[in-house]
């Protein structure tokens, strides 16, 4: 990795870091206008550290994006209170050290975490974890499950594993999980889950990335962290955290932006680690810590008509854009899928679309953001197909359906390996396997 300058820290923060000296554990919380929920997160983290790591020297870092609702005050003033009210086997806990700092760089979660990585690096921490500030379901056990495997079992990276409704996290289900699994050969079910544990040395490597001015500074950060750990051969595991309940709507979360940032990062990292993923076939399970259990999930009411309508409109109007990176037979397949009632975008066709887009992205067949934005109707078409197929399915059946999709990503991988090396800038849409 090319070395880049780490983000600037306030003089006040630097002084605080010098005072603190070396620290064992760090818990980072990125935030932006989360005053309503962040108090609960701080209390859960403080209780978790007191309960599970009472001997460790720990610090909580809030990296804030300029909140105007008093988020930072909440972090500073939230009291843990009487531990015996939270934990049956409470032990006396020393006050938790807290650092509250604004971050520099592009506004976004990635920039916030970058500042947390910098602080982790300065404090030479052994293990870190980051948790979202809008969580309503975080418990003290999350801290143990995210930090414990790193501190006590020698893992470098801990991905979360949640119980989620089958229609919750559809970018993860249809693109990010199966593609990451096919590329890097490890089954990390929630690669962009948002809550992760990692070692101090991995935090330092994250800092060395040279693309912090791109989508990684925003929603691309989660897949960046997961992919870096997978591609660089770190020991990875998953921890079952139960349900992930959070604020229903992130005001800045626009589907188009999210998809562009996440998928751009995924494709960028495919270029970065091409030599790694080209040699991997199949996939293997990744160890899970924590006991998976059934969770009552909030229903997700899907308005399938809107998904179908956007897919069909895309099929009717975007063929001129898609033909820059998709071959003729795939374009025909899209038209046929859109014409069916209900629409049905098969796994094989969808995987060819995603692999075609990845190859087109690296060959710059179109301006990259344009290329990914043009995938939105296709992605919505796949979601609509999945919803139709699993309308009456149990959670396990829906998961089995996603497993089938993931296997198609794996079985078709040879085509993207071949297509990847096609000369950049070629105007020919990918043929043959794609």
């Amino acid at each position: 990795m090319a070395l880049t300058a780490p983000p600037e820290l306030d003089a006040e923060v630097m002084t605080r870091l010098k005072t603190l000296g070396r620290v064992d554990l760090l818990v980072g919380i990125p935030s932006f206008n989360n005053a309503r929920t962040i108090g609960h997160v701080v209390r859960a983290v403080a209780a978790g550290l007191a309960r599970h790591f009472p001997e460790a020297k720990a610090v909580l870092v809030n990296s804030d994006g300029g909140s105007t609702d008093g988020t930072r005050d909440v972090v500073v003033k939230t009291e843990l209170g009487d531990l015996t009210e939270i934990l049956v086997d409470a032990v006396p806990a020393s006050p938790l050290s807290r650092i509250v700092t604004p971050y520099s760089g592009l506004p976004g979660k990635g920039s916030a975490l970058r500042t947390i990585f910098r602080i982790a690096s300065e404090l030479e921490v052994s293990a870190c974890c980051v948790v979202d500030s809008d969580l309503r379901s975080i418990t003290p056990e999350w801290v143990e499950l995210l930090l414990g495997p790193v501190l006590e079992r020698g893992y470098e990276f801990v991905a979360p594993l949640y119980a989620r409704h089958r229609y919750d996290g559809t970018i993860t289900n249809t693109i990010v999980y199966p593609l990451t699994r096919a590329l890097y050969g490890r089954r990390i079910r929630q690669p962009i889950g948002g809550d992760f544990g990692f070692s101090g040395s991995l935090a330092r490597r994250f800092l060395e990335y040279d693309g912090w001015e791109g989508p990684v500074a925003r929603y691309g950060i989660d897949i960046f962290m997961t992919t870096t750990a997978l591609a660089e051969g770190d020991r990875v595991c998953q921890s079952f955290l139960g349900a992930k309940l959070h604020d229903p709507k992130d005001p800045g979360a626009d589907l188009r932006d999210m998809l562009v940032q996440v998928v751009s990062t995924l494709f960028d990292l495919m270029g970065r680690y091409a030599d790694v993923w080209k040699g991997i076939n199949g996939s293997e399970d990744v160890r899970v810590f924590g006991l998976p259990y059934a969770v009552g999930l909030e229903p997700v009411p899907v308005k399938i008509d809107r998904l179908v309508s956007l897919f069909r409109q895309g099929a009717a109007e975007l063929e001129s854009v898609w033909k820059s990176f998709l071959p003729e037979d795939v374009l025909r397949g899209i038209q046929e899928a859109a014409a069916r009632v209900p629409p049905a975008l098969s796994d094989e066709l969808f995987v060819r679309i995603i692999y075609g887009a990845a190859a087109g992205y690296t060959r710059k067949s179109l301006p990259r953001e344009t290329l990914i934005r043009s995938l939105i109707p296709l992605y919505l078409g796949k979601v609509a197909t999945f919803v139709e197929e699993t309308r009456d399915a149990e959670a396990a059946e829906a998961e089995a359906r996603l497993e089938t999709l993931a296997r198609v990503y794996e079985s078709e991988k040879a085509s993207i390996v071949l297509a990847w090396d096609v000369r950049r800038g070629s105007d020919e849409p990918l043929k043959g396997g794609l």
Binding site: Y219, M258, K303, I304, L366, I376, R423, D427
Partner: protein, 226 residues
């Protein structure tokens, strides 16, 4: 008398011959300059192609493709350099001519070429921006579920093209006043027509459509995508 006539005819031929002979050196210089320009242009083109290949930049560029050009940046740069070398050679050759009508005409043509090239460049940029604008509008419309995306994107494409074509013509000094007047009339008329159509003729339709759109934005698909 016949002798006088013959002498005058002979003098005329001599003057014509002198005039012809006096032009020959300048003409030779002109042709020589063009030949040198041709050779230099070819050499520059070869050198640039080689350099681009060594720098592995010979593939076609997304920007050029967006503008509808399939040529690679290397081919484009080489082509431009070749014709620029020829243009310089032509200018040198024309300066070698004796003052006169031919030189004036050629000098005017040579002087006009830079403006022609600038206008061509403006139109070229216009093609690129028009294609980008068309695609962006189309994608934004489709991804938002707006109807008439293709029609609106084509309209935007045409508007950008017309705008840049007008700029190119203005740069050439062709019909400047007519262009300004035409543009003012078309733009003013378009805005007025749109305002009238939206505010009066299609008031109910516009209100209904906007209400429906806003409701749809609020409702969206119900899915949490990430």
């Amino acid at each position: 008398m016949l002798e006088n006539l013959g002498r005058q005819i002979g003098d005329a031929f001599l003057r014509l011959g002198d005039a012809f002979l006096s032009v020959i050196p300048a003409f030779v210089v002109l042709v020589g300059a063009l030949l040198v320009g041709l050779v230099v242009g070819v050499l520059i083109r070869l050198a640039l192609n080689l350099l681009f290949r060594m720098a592995r930049q010979s593939d076609s560029s997304p920007l050029l493709r967006a503008a509808g050009f399939k040529a690679s940046p290397s081919a484009l740069a080489a082509g431009v350099s070749f014709w620029a070398a020829l243009l310089v050679a032509l200018a040198v050759g024309v300066n070698a001519l004796e003052p006169g009508a031919l030189r004036n005409v050629l000098a005017d043509i040579v002087a006009f070429l830079p403006r022609l090239l600038t206008s061509a460049l403006i139109v070229l940029v216009g093609f690129g921006l028009a294609a980008l604008a068309r695609r962006s509008v189309l994608l934004a419309a489709v991804n938002s579920g707006l109807p008439w995306g293709r029609a609106v994107s084509r309209l935007v494409h045409a508007a950008v093209l017309v705008f840049f074509a007008a700029m190119g013509l203005d740069n050439l000094g062709v019909g400047r006043s007519i262009l300004v007047a035409a543009f003012s009339i078309v733009a003013g008329g378009f805005v007025l027509a749109a305002a009238l159509a939206f505010g009066l003729g299609a008031r109910d339709l516009a209100r209904g459509y906007l209400e429906k759109r806003l409701r749809a934005e609020e409702e969206d698909s119900g899915i949490h995508h990430v």
